[in-house]
Symmetry: C2
Subunit: 190 residues, 2 copies
């Protein structure tokens, strides 16, 4: 069996579906749905469409593929020295419990992740995947709250009650991998 | 432990490192190295650089992320109907033992893979990853033979003796995931 993807520190804090969080999530969901309804009702220029309001948000580009690595220097050297890619400096993100290095591929990026601190949310993933492995993909959306509200109506589970601020300073949300063909999908507001 | 990524049918036929294949690979490697040496020796316009001839090939864009899925119709519906992406028709590739659907993300693609036939090379992956999962990433290169020759000198193992023709009709080569941080990396000549 493939292990469940591990989450980042802030996900771990928010993603457990306790009664409290479920309640909070439903409240947020109601709020967002109300906002969506309001937007649709008040708009006089946008066409009103029946059905799920997918026109209120749009899926965008692939922002990055995240790869958890057991040895950041070795992984950086692979992409920089062996494969010839341009890579960023190693950046510690203590609030996320990871070091990151971005690998530029022209049209998108690889995000190399290595644990930072004893409670890093990717430590469990690396214990189960000793050589490392693909951890998640991140796809941009133009309106994260509209996307969340819409996806909830389509029975896609979220891993936290509300969006959090991701590594790029923008709101992000993780979708449950069991609702996405075993893939941990991060949505990031572009 | 994370299972070893499964290979496509043609990889399975060529990737086993039997003595015969190792010998064949070395011969091919020598041939390519000779060709590279010849190119460098004969070129009068390209600058000669000392060290590993990385200038003879260049890493390019991310061509796609491949995702193995247990239910192609459900996975296609997720990306098309739930997330609103443009998706291709389902295409059977019997020579690769898979059905494919491409999901357009603007800057790159997701390649959904589902087994075709009893001996599909991704059946084992799906048996170990019941919900599906990320199978490999494909990065473009401008010269696959130069890339292979160079990467061999840098101790990156290949999964087949020679490039094969991939799903896009172009030569491809898979790199050993244990040399790439647990990630199965496909190089495709753009």
């Amino acid at each position: 069996m493939k292990p469940e993807p591990s989450l980042r520190a802030s996900d771990v804090h928010t993603a457990h579906l306790t009664h409290r969080n479920v309640t909070a999530k439903h409240q947020i969901g109601s709020f967002i749905c109300s906002r969506v309804t309001l937007l649709r009702a008040c708009s006089t220029t946008a066409p009103l469409r029946q059905g799920v309001p997918t026109s209120l948000w749009k899926l965008g580009r692939l922002n990055h593929i995240a790869i958890a690595v057991p040895d950041m220097e070795k992984a950086t050297a692979l992409y920089r020295d062996v494969l010839g890619a341009t890579v960023s400096e190693k950046v510690p993100l203590p609030e996320h419990g990871v070091y990151t290095v971005f690998v530029e591929l022209g049209n998108t990026k690889l995000e190399l992740l290595h644990p930072l601190g004893e409670k890093s949310p990717i430590s469990g993933f690396l214990q189960k995947n000793k050589s490392g492995g693909m951890h998640h993909i991140c796809i941009e959306v133009d309106d994260i709250n509209a996307a969340i509200a819409d996806l909830k109506t389509k029975n896609i589970r979220m891993l936290s009650a509300v969006p959090r601020i991701g590594a790029h300073g923008k709101p992000v949300m993780f979708l449950h991998p069991k609702d996405c063909d075993g893939v941990l999908v991060e949505l990031e507001e572009a």
